[in-house]
Symmetry: C2
Subunit: 325 residues, 2 copies
C-alpha cells in the first residue's frame, strides 16, 4: 500500500468515525425512551459502511462547504432513513441478520420491528427537517420513490419478463435515489451552483446503480463473509441484472432450464445456475455495466476543482463499486 | 334540533369537507405513482372523522389565525401521520377492516402494507416540513412518543398488573400526543402567545385521554355499527381502563375469574365480563373520568375570546368524548 493510499484510508476512517460518533451521540441522547431506541440503535450502530453520509460530507466539501457540522445532521438523516428502510425490508425479505446482528423482527417480533422502523424514519425526518424547503422536498421525493420502487420490485418477483428498463427504474428509485438525493442535498447546503447540483445528483445516480449491480453480483459470486448467504436474491425471487441478462440471451433448453431454476430455486441448483449465467456471459456483462456507471459517475465530478475531498470521494466511489469483487 | 345547533353542524360539515377536498387533491396529484398511492389513498379517503385536522383548524382560528390555507398543510400532515399509524397498527392487531374498507395487509399483503404506511408517513412529514423548526420538532417528538408508547402497550399486553399510571402514560403518547401536538402546532402557526400555546396543548392532552377512554368503553358497550366487533381490545389483550379499574377493585373469586377471562377471552365470555365490570362499577368510573377530562379540556379554552370557532371547537370536543355513548 502506498503512502498516498494510506493517507486516503486514514482520512476516510476519520470521517467514518466522526459520523459514527454523531450517530452514537444521538442514540445516547434518546436512550431513556427505552426499548424502541435500544433496538433501533443496535441496528443503526451495528456497523454499516456509512457510504451515504460519507459521500454526502465529501459532496458538501467539493462543492465548497467548509464546516462539516453544517452537513452532519443531514448526513445522519440519510443514514437513519436508510436504516429504517433496511428494518422494514428485512421484515419483507424474512432476513434473519443485518450488519451481523439478528434482525429486530427475529428478536422482538413483527410489531416491534415495524414500530422501530417507524421510529428510525421519524429521527431521519426530524434531522432533515432542520434544513430548507428544497431539501425537505428532496428527502420526501426520495422516500416516496423508494416506496413506489419497492412496490414495483414486489410486483416483479419471479417475473421472468422483467426488462432491463424495469430493473433500472426500480434501482433508480430504491438504491440510487438516496445516493443522488443525498449528494444533491449536500450541495444545496454548500450553496453549490445549479450546474454543480445537477452533477452531484447524476454522480449519485450512477454510483447508486453501480452499487446495486455490485450487490447483484455479490449475491452470486461473493463469498459468505459478506454477511449474506449466496443466492439470497434468487431465493427471494428478485430479478437481478445477471438473471435478466441471461434470460434475454439464453435460448432453447438453456432458457427453459434457467426459468425453471429461478422459479424453483434452492441451494442445490446454485452451481447449475452459475454455469448458465457464465454461458450467457452475464457476469462479464454486469461487470462492464458497473465499470460504465462508475466511469460516468467520475466524469460528473470533473467540473469540481481538484482537492483532497475530491480524491476521497473518488476513492469511496471506487470502493462502493468494487468492494470484494 | 335547534337552529343554532343546525348552524354548528353545517359549519363543521363545511370544514370537514374542506379538509377532505384538500386530502383528495393531494392524493390525486400523486396518483401516477401507482399502486402505493392507490392503496394508501383508499384508506386515507375512506372516511374517518378528521377530528385532528378539524381541531387544528379551529385551534388556529381561536388563536387568531385568519387564513385557513396557512394551517391546511399542517392539518393534513397530522391526518396523514395518523393514517400511517393506523395502517401499521392494523398489521400488528391483525385487523381486517379500517374505516369500513379491508385493510391493506388483507388485500395486498404484509410487505405492501408496511411500505404503504411508510409512504403515508413520508407525505405527513413532507407537509409538516414546510413549517418552522418548532413545528418540525413538535411533530418529531410526537411521532417518537407514539413509537415509545406502542412498545409499552405491547409490553403490557395481558399484563394484569398494568396500573392506571401505566395506562395514562401509554395513552398520552399514543392517543393524546397527536391531539396536543396538533393543537399546539396550530397555535404556533397562528402566532399565539406562550400561554395560549400551553392551553391548546393541554386541551389536546385532555381531549385525547377522554377520546381513548370513550374508545375503551365502546369496545365493551358500543354496538357493532361502530365498525368494530365488540371485545376486540380484550381479545387483543389490551389493558383498557375499565379492565384495569375492575382488576383493582375486584376481590377473591371475582378477581380470579376476571383474570381468567382476560387471559383466555373469547366472545362466549363477553356477558360474564360485562357483569364483572358492572359489579365493580367500572363503566361508571370510566364515564366519570371521561367527563372530568372533558371538563378540564373546556376550561383550558376559557382564556380564548368567545367566537364561532370556539363554539365549534367545544362542539367537536363534546362529540369526540361522547360519540354514541
Amino acid at each position: 500500500m502506498t503512502q498516498v493510499h494510506q493517507g486516503v484510508e486514514a482520512s476516510l476512517n476519520a470521517l467514518r468515525q466522526k459520523i459514527d460518533e454523531s450517530l452514537e451521540e444521538m442514540i445516547a441522547s434518546r436512550i431513556d425512551s427505552g426499548e424502541v431506541v435500544e433496538l433501533s440503535g443496535k441496528v443503526l450502530l451495528a456497523g454499516g459502511k456509512r457510504l451515504r453520509p460519507i459521500m454526502m460530507c465529501l459532496s458538501y466539501q467539493i462543492a465548497g462547504g467548509e464546516d462539516l457540522s453544517k452537513i452532519m445532521p443531514l448526513a445522519m438523516a440519510f443514514e437513519f432513513l436508510h436504516t429504517a428502510t433496511l428494518v422494514h425490508d428485512d421484515i419483507n425479505d424474512g432476513a434473519t441478520h443485518r450488519r451481523g446482528v439478528p434482525t429486530i423482527h427475529e428478536t422482538a417480533g413483527l410489531s416491534k420491528a415495524i414500530i422501530a422502523g417507524d421510529w428510525l424514519f421519524v429521527q431521519g425526518y426530524a434531522l432533515g427537517g432542520q434544513y430548507n424547503q428544497d431539501i425537505v422536498t428532496n428527502i420526501a421525493n426520495c422516500c416516496s420513490s423508494i416506496a413506489v420502487s419497492e412496490f414495483s420490485q414486489i410486483d416483479h418477483i419471479q417475473n421472468l419478463r422483467t426488462s432491463p428498463e424495469d430493473y433500472i427504474s426500480i434501482v433508480k428509485g430504491k438504491t440510487a435515489g438516496p445516493f443522488s438525493s443525498g449528494c444533491r442535498s449536500a450541495g444545496v447546503v454548500a450553496k453549490a451552483t445549479e450546474e454543480q447540483l445537477d452533477a452531484l445528483e447524476e454522480f449519485g445516480v450512477e454510483i447508486g446503480i453501480a452499487y446495486q449491480l455490485v450487490d447483484d453480483l455479490l449475491d452470486l459470486v461473493g463469498d459468505e463473509m459478506m454477511g449474506k448467504p449466496r443466492g439470497c436474491d434468487v431465493l427471494e425471487g428478485k430479478m437481478t441484472l445477471p438473471l435478466i441478462h441471461s434470460l434475454t440471451l439464453s435460448h432453447g433448453k438453456d432458457r427453459e432450464r434457467l426459468a425453471d431454476i429461478i422459479n424453483n430455486f434452492d441451494d442445490s441448483l446454485f452451481d447449475e445456475l452459475i454455469d448458465l449465467l457464465t454461458k450467457s456471459d452475464s457476469f462479464n456483462y454486469t461487470k462492464i455495466l458497473i465499470r460504465n456507471h462508475f466511469d460516468r459517475a467520475l466524469r460528473y465530478l470533473e467540473i469540481f476543482p481538484e482537492s483532497s475531498a475530491k480524491s476521497l470521494l473518488q476513492t469511496v466511489a471506487e470502493y462502493s463499486t468494487t468492494r470484494k469483487l
